[in-house]
């Protein structure tokens, strides 16, 4: 299959000026946005003109030069099969929000962008959460980009992002204030309250024990 791709790329290189537009890669850029109970992934797929004939075989399956609605749906399903999302070690299904396809001419010019928006409901979990996203769509020709928007919710803080070299695997670690209606400030306030309560209890116990200890020391001295 790889030989087929290389041959197709070589043929297109020979036919077109090698400038201005993406050529021999299939750019797949994913942007995550995190909310408390769900995650959204906006994916932009831009096939280079040199790999377009190969990519089109999977999109325009009947080869009539038109990307029909049914072919669009089928291709989106195909892409989604190549994606996986795990949250806290649990596989989470991705659901389609919307998709948009460029015209065939835009794709032939190397600037056609397929846009797919997905969402997933997050399972209940603790305050430290780990999201792992994998994209294996057309990996021999893919150039992956994965990023996360800075969370708009102040109760969510990204603690780490890790990727493999090709960005086909992306791990996002973040901290989320637990429970609905709670926040980092209320979490911190709660922790301070608990600490203060322990301190007060300790002081109170010491205060109660004081006469007893003093009595023992006095009687000890007398002995």
């Amino acid at each position: 299959m790889k030989t087929g791709i290389i041959t197709a790329v070589a043929l297109v290189f020979a036919a077109r000026p090698a400038s201005a537009h993406r050529l021999d890669e299939y750019l797949q850029a994913t942007l995550f946005s995190i909310e408390k109970d769900r995650v959204r992934a906006d994916i932009r797929l831009t096939p280079g003109v040199a790999v377009l004939p190969y990519v089109l075989k999977t999109i325009d399956t009947n080869g009539d030069g038109i990307i029909a609605a049914s072919e669009q749906r089928a291709y989106v399903g195909h892409v989604m099969q190549d994606l996986s999302l795990n949250v806290d070690g649990e596989r989470v299904p991705l659901q389609l929000i919307s998709s948009q396809f460029p015209s065939m001419q835009e794709m032939k010019d190397g600037l056609g962008e397929i846009q797919i928006s997905l969402t997933a409901n997050l399972p209940l979990g603790g305050s430290h959460r780990t999201l792992v996203f994998e994209n294996h769509h057309e990996s021999p020709i893919a150039a992956y980009l994965v990023n996360c928007l800075a969370p708009a919710d102040p109760d969510i803080r990204v603690s780490a992002q890790n990727r493999n070299y090709l960005q086909s695997r992306y791990q996002l670690d973040y901290i989320q204030a637990g429970g609905s209606g709670s926040s980092f400030s209320s979490m911190l306030a709660g922790e301070w309250f608990a600490l203060a309560a322990v301190l007060i209890l300790g002081i109170r116990l010491a205060w109660l024990a004081m006469p007893h200890l003093l009595n023992r020391r006095t009687s000890g001295s007398a002995a």
Binding site: S19, E25, L31, A50, L145, N147, A150, N164
Partner: protein, 338 residues
């Protein structure tokens, strides 16, 4: 009588000079805009002027050639010599001398590309477009747009403020010969970044260098209003010399606008330095005889700069895309909100 005339003439010259010196930067840009508009006929004026709130025109910019992504406004190629000169004078009035030189070098580079590709009509200096959103004014906000293949300047002028974000500078070929001289439109962006990287200690490099490949701009054209989670080395961990080098690197974008606007912008970005990040992906050294092929990003509360060599079947060091944004104030939206 002759002596009297000389005195009057001298006084008038002094007055003219004083008026020019006393004229604000915004007034100079507005005057240049009116001078340009005065050279146009009515159909041309209709094509170059857009409503200030025309969102379609505002975002109609790209790294692609104009044959692929249509630009509106007037192209330099359809202007007379006098009109073209006035158009470039307007662009120049809003930029620093260094910024205008960079713009000219990017345009010359596209002309060099046209020659290299046997006169390919997709490229060339004639295919750069100018447009104005709103009415040029010293008080009310308006926008000047200028760009084409590998160039997009979106300059919002709001009173004494000049905002250049979002803008795209790029170059292909990144090195070429023009009038017998070697030209590198984005050479400083490459050289200063490598100098900064090499000034970091091993611990800092470990934080700055990302372990993965970044194949393209993350926040390129069409990605307005997005702020990604920053990565790399936080500038608060840099020493004073490294910070100065980073600011100098940033000035390659922030210094494109006129000196007055650039000075205000640099002060803002300097104040943001402790919350700014520097990230690098790719080789840490340049191959002999070649320029860098590494991606880097500078991101702060009011700044995103990305520098992305393009691997498109050729030498990535010869094809560079960069983006310059202020996620809080792209198109001047942060200061022109009603």
């Amino acid at each position: 009588m002759k002596t009297f005339n000389k005195i009057v003439l001298s006084a008038l010259m002094c007055l003219t000079v004083n008026l020019a010196v006393g004229q604000s930067q915004t007034a100079r840009i507005v005057n240049a805009a009116h001078t340009f508009l005065a050279t146009l006929d009515q159909p041309q004026r209709q094509r170059v002027l857009f409503a200030y709130d025309d969102e379609q025109q505002r975002v109609r910019w790209s790294n692609f050639p104009t044959g692929f992504v249509h630009r509106a406004g007037l192209s330099l190629g359809e202007l007379s010599a006098a009109q073209r000169s006035a158009a470039l004078a307007l662009v120049s009035s809003a930029l620093s001398s260094r910024g205008f030189q960079k713009v000219q070098e990017i345009m010359d580079g596209d002309e060099a590309l046209k020659i290299k590709e046997n006169g390919n009509q997709m490229f060339g200096k004639d295919l750069f477009f100018i447009s104005i959103l709103g009415t040029p004014s010293e008080k009310d906000p308006w926008m000047l747009q200028f760009g084409g293949h590998h160039l997009a300047l979106n300059i919002t002028i709001a009173g004494d403020r000049g905002i250049l974000t979002p803008s795209l500078t790029a170059a292909q070929p990144a090195v070429y010969t023009w009038n017998g001289k070697t030209v590198r439109p984005l050479g400083q962006e490459n050289d200063k970044a490598f100098a900064l990287l090499n000034a970091l200690d091993e611990g800092q490099k470990k934080q700055a260098i990302l372990s993965y490949r970044v194949a393209d701009l993350v926040l390129g054209p069409g990605q307005d209003g997005k702020t990604i989670q920053p990565e790399g080395l936080k500038v608060s961990a840099m020493n004073d010399q490294q910070r100065a080098m980073l600011l100098d690197l940033i000035s390659e974008w922030a210094g494109i606008v006129d000196d007055s606007a650039a000075s205000a912008r640099m002060a803002e970005l300097k104040a943001d330095l402790p919350s700014t990040w520097f990230a690098w992906s790719g080789p840490t050294a340049q191959e002999p005889g070649h320029y860098g092929i590494s991606y880097y990003r500078i991101q702060g509360p009011h700044l995103v700069i990305e520098y992305a060599p393009q691997r498109m079947g050729g030498d990535p060091s010869m094809h560079i895309h960069t983006i310059y944004r202020d996620p809080t104030n792209d198109y001047g939206r942060g200061i022109t909100k009603k």
